[in-house]
């Protein structure tokens, strides 16, 4: 548009000068008109040249204050396992031209592990206003707030929302994510933690131990002779466990909590349980089978598939991540994956949580709510199932049509998981105790 304007002005200038010459040259010389068009032509050429010079970079920096934005921005921090689904939903939502108060809405999805996001909320890195009001911000500060502050957060699990609220309660004296009312955090989809093992390894382990659980995995992990001792191929090396790195991925914490549940045979885990020396020794032996304790890899199911059995023989990972990688694993590694359901199960429910502070406007909050409703719609819940997540809408079945759940039933996927016991949400103290233990005994 700027370029068209510049060219238009330049052309008008040239026409004006042309007219000036024409008037001057007419018999009798219409001097008044000639001078008028001459001055007008020169001015238009100067203005056009100036704008042209700026547009080709002569003006160097852009002005610091952005021009007013059109759409209402909804920035959604999204946990990694749900990100592909939420991103596709956002694309559809944006394309549908949804509006709030007559203004179009643009949803922007920012992928971030729940633990990383929690850390950012803990440290107030998103820059909440605190005692300030929006009016007290400089134009630059306001610009930053309006372009970077998250409008909503979809963490992996509800307990991360509770932990973020705890941090802000200390700081602001109130919750920043509500637990009831219209703006309450609502689960958007569900995925369970399950065992995923390469079939060749699963067969050997089940022959040796009968069942896949944390205790048998522990025994495999401590086998000094590696796979030959367990009845497997020498080329496989030692048993390699895949568990997300708890410093990089909240799934690692979920796996350790599930392991603790099986160790103690109960659903509630306390700080005393985590600090019990016998449990710590057992957990240390288990974690000794991790291939990468550097923290370099997050140990997601994507890694498990991309690097194959070379980095892990099996481990506890999110069902949706495993389902999304089943086909790829068969293509890349020839050895298929099997899924087994543990006795004590942890799951993620990806709660949509709207930020309730003055950092975002009422219109942004309501636009976020619109997007939440869109996520919960039947169409988008079916999309979730297509991507390996379990719907929170009871009308949407995981076995309705050709889904990942039906396609991989032969590999152990169960539409209804009958015998599991849900682990209770751990407290902040339990989580921090587990992280501390990991840092001191595995990560360092």
């Amino acid at each position: 548009m700027n370029l068209a304007l510049t060219i238009g002005i330049l052309v008008a200038g040239v026409i004006a000068i042309g007219l000036s010459i024409a008037f001057w040259a007419t018999r009798g010389g219409r001097r008044t008109q000639a001078v008028f068009f001459l001055i007008l032509g020169v001015v238009l050429l100067v203005v056009g040249a100036g704008l042209g010079w700026r547009s080709i970079g002569g003006g160097t920096q852009q002005p610091l204050v952005a021009t007013p934005r059109g759409p209402i921005q909804v920035r959604v921090l999204t946990a990694l396992p749900a990100e592909p689904w939420v991103r596709e939903a956002a694309r559809r939502f944006n394309e549908a031209g949804n509006k709030q108060d007559g203004q179009p809405i643009e949803v922007q999805v920012i992928a971030m592990d729940g633990l990383t996001a929690l850390g950012k909320f803990d440290r107030d890195e998103f820059g909440s206003l605190g005692d300030k009001t929006r009016d007290q911000l400089s134009p630059q500060e306001l610009e930053k707030l309006e372009t970077t502050f998250p409008t909503a957060w979809i963490p992996d699990s509800r307990y991360l929302v509770e932990l973020a609220n705890a941090a802000y309660k200390d700081r602001l004296g109130r919750d920043v994510f509500l637990t009831d009312g219209e703006y309450r955090a609502r689960p958007t989809a569900i995925s369970l933690f399950t065992w995923g093992l390469y079939q060749s390894r699963d067969e050997v382990l089940r022959k040796k131990f009968g069942e896949i659980n944390w205790k048998t995995i522990h025994d495999a992990a401590v086998a000094k002779g590696g796979w030959p001792e367990l009845g497997g191929d020498a080329a496989w090396g030692f048993f390699k466990l895949v568990v997300p790195n708890p410093r990089r991925n909240v799934g690692g914490l979920a796996a350790m909590i599930a392991a603790a549940g099986e160790y103690y045979d109960r659903t509630n885990i306390s700080v005393a349980d985590v600090t019990n020396p016998d449990f710590q020794k057992w957990l240390g032996e288990l974690m000794g089978a991790l291939t990468d304790v550097s923290g370099a890899g997050a140990y997601t199911a994507e890694d498990f598939a991309l690097f194959g059995y070379s980095v892990g023989d099996g481990g506890q990972l999110l069902e949706s991540d495993l389902l999304n990688n089943m086909a790829g694993i068969q293509t890349r590694w020839a050895d298929p994956l099997v899924i087994r359901y543990p006795k004590y199960v942890t799951w993620f429910d990806f709660p949509f949580s709207v930020w309730m502070g003055p950092e975002t406007t009422a219109a942004e909050k309501n636009a976020a709510l619109q997007f939440e409703q869109f996520l919960l719609s039947t169409e988008i819940q079916k999309l979730a199932v297509q991507q390996g997540l379990r719907s929170v809408n009871s009308d949407v079945s995981v076995t309705d049509g050709d889904t990942l759940f039906t396609r991989w039933q032969k590999q152990g996927v169960e539409a209804v998981v009958p015998r599991t016991t849900r682990m209770a949400s751990p407290s902040r103290e339990v989580l921090l105790a587990l992280l501390r233990w990991f840092d001191l005994n595995v990560g360092k």
Binding site: V46, D292, V293, T331
Partner: protein, 576 residues
């Protein structure tokens, strides 16, 4: 009559006034706008980040230059724009992983995202950054590096010429680090190398030695890595390394040129093995006379996973995030992933079979897509750091003599740049146990700093470099001969013996001829191998002569300019 003239003049004056006012209004609008546009950059010279900018600079590691710069070019050609019409642009800058880490930590990085050869560096960067943040104990630590994505991966392998591979047991039995190390220790003629620990492949080779030395295959600790028995073992193995080097790419390029005469085996990524066998590198051995085999170490290997991640700095704009996301999505496109496979990398898109018709990952190209079976356990960052430090102490030590031209043509900024390069070289060699000497020549050999450990002569060398003065002719051959004789007299085959000879002109004043000297070098190298790195400084250097000197010793010729000579000496320092 007068009244008529006045009547005629009035519209003219009005017209001029109207046009003048119009002109002033336009200028009043345009001039401040133009000045405003210029002011941030010119007033105080501070760099102001445009909060709407959508330009993202990405630092990439050198071995994937061809692939990565090609992909960036394709992305930019799409001419994408953000919702507020800012052009999305990616700029690629080449950098070693270590430089990426150091620049990001110093907060002076000119990049918003990075793609090193391995995630190891991202972890080091985060770990060191967290240490500098004084986080409360037990709190969730901050992260500087955002969520990484992968677009191309490749395992690190031992590349061996087919005959060598067969002699190690391939393809009938698994070949590992132990077999390679045993062979190197038993056969004095066996030539192998690995990059320094500044690269993922060098780090892997070194870790494998420490695991073998400690007698464990997992659970390596800092204590085990620093145990004298482990260090003795690693030291013995490292003594068999021919030389280290800057990275994988120069090694594979020389391998294509010289074949087994250069090295019998070396540590590189699988992608480069496939690339050499499928004639991507010029030279008689680039897919012609012999074939490289990728040996996947039986004890385990590592993956070069080429992560791509944003640096989560406060000045990152929303539009830069959009550009990064668009680039990330571009890299995931099936056609782009197919391009990644054609370049010899394993694409992150698992739906693309590695045995696609145009895949270079074939048995004919010496690789096996079903491998590797297992990886080595990558220890915690402090253990990795302990290994890196211990390697610096146990690596094969060096006797290196710097031969420096101070003839008349070096006068002025040319000499000043060379002095800066020599100072950089001395700084880059951290271990005081390395032995370095210096020979200055012009019409004759004019000054000699005898070979000694840097612990003893670092100050003397620096002082000598500071006081170099230009004048006289060029007696290069006499100077190289002096250096060569001194290294032969040392008779120290335990160390890497090397000469780094730099000249900017033509030989015109030596007593010894080129033929005589190269014959002496060939004969002498039968007893104590001395490798010559010949540096031509500018276009006037006699490159034929330098090539002859280098070839007679199994060394190499490098070209430098006043602008690049400092970086070149920095690179050369990685060989020792």
């Amino acid at each position: 009559m007068k009244r008529t003239q006045r009547r005629q003049r009035r519209p003219f004056i009005v017209t001029v006034l109207v046009a003048g006012v119009l002109a002033l209004c336009c200028l009043a609008i345009v001039v401040p706008a133009l000045l405003k546009g210029r002011s941030p950059g010119t007033a105080d010279q501070t760099v102001v980040v445009d909060p709407r900018t959508a330009k993202v600079t990405i630092a990439y590691s050198p071995e994937k230059a061809t692939l990565f710069t090609g992909l960036v070019k394709e992305f930019n050609a799409q001419k994408l724009r953000t919702p507020d019409r800012q052009p999305m642009e990616v700029v690629a800058v080449e950098m070693t992983p270590e430089e990426m880490v150091n620049q990001a930590l110093a907060g002076q990085q000119g990049f918003q995202a990075l793609t090193p050869d391995s995630s190891i560096w991202l972890d080091q960067l985060n770990g060191r950054w967290v240490q500098a943040q004084a986080t409360e104990p037990g709190a969730i630590p901050p992260r500087l590096v955002g969520e990484p994505v992968r677009y191309a991966v490749t395992p690190i392998v031992i590349a061996a010429w087919e005959n060598t591979a067969r002699s190690l047991g391939w393809p009938d039995k698994p070949v590992g680090w132990t077999a390679l190390q045993q062979r190197a220790q038993q056969d004095p003629g066996f030539k192998w190398s690995h990059p320094s620990t500044a690269y993922a492949s060098g780090l892997l080779a070194t870790l494998a030695e420490f695991y073998a030395g400690a007698g464990v295959q997992r659970g390596l600790t800092a204590e085990l890595a620093q145990d004298p028995k482990t260090l003795d073992f690693v030291g013995a193995v490292e003594k068999t390394v021919k030389h280290y080097g800057e990275a994988e790419l120069p090694v594979i390029q020389r391998a294509a040129q010289e074949g087994p005469a250069y090295l019998d085996a070396f540590v590189v990524s699988e992608q480069l093995v496939a690339a050499l066998n499928s004639r991507h590198f010029p030279g008689p051995f680039g897919g012609g006379q012999d074939r490289l085999i990728a040996l996947y170490p039986a004890e385990g290997t590592l993956w070069a996973d080429h992560p791509l991640a944003l640096l989560e700095t406060p000045d990152l704009t929303a539009n830069q995030r959009r550009t990064f996301q668009a680039f990330r999505e571009f890299l995931a496109k099936p056609e782009v992933q197919a391009e990644v496979l054609r370049a010899g990398y394993r694409p992150a898109d698992l739906s693309i079979p590695l045995n696609s018709p145009d895949s270079p990952l074939t048995a004919a190209n010496g690789v096996n897509p079903a491998e590797p079976q297992t990886t080595l356990q990558l220890p915690a960052p402090d253990v990795v750091a302990a290994v890196q430090n211990a390697w610096a102490l146990t690596k094969r030590k060096t006797n290196v003599i710097l031969v420096v031209d101070t003839s008349g043509s070096m006068e002025g900024s040319k000499l000043e740049n060379a002095q800066a390069a020599l100072r950089t070289f001395l700084v880059q060699i951290p271990s005081d146990q390395e032995r370095v000497g210096l020979i200055e020549f012009n019409s004759d050999v004019v000054n000699i700093i005898e070979l000694d450990t840097l612990a003893r002569n670092r100050a003397a060398l620096t002082s000598e470099v500071d006081s170099l003065q230009a004048g006289g002719n060029t007696a290069l051959l006499d100077a190289v001969r002096t250096a060569y004789e001194r290294l032969q007299q040392e008779a120290d085959p335990e160390r890497i013996n090397a000469i780094v000879a730099m000249t900017d002109g033509r030989e015109n004043n030596s007593n010894v001829s080129l033929n005589e000297l190269t014959a002496e070098i060939r004969a002498g190298n039968e007893k104590v191998p001395v490798v010559i790195f010949a540096v031509g400084y500018g276009k006037d250097a006699d490159y034929d002569m330098l090539r002859s000197l280098a070839e007679s010793s199994g060394g190499q010729v490098r070209e430098g300019t006043p602008e690049t000579i400092r970086d070149l000496y920095k690179i050369l320092s990685t060989y020792f």
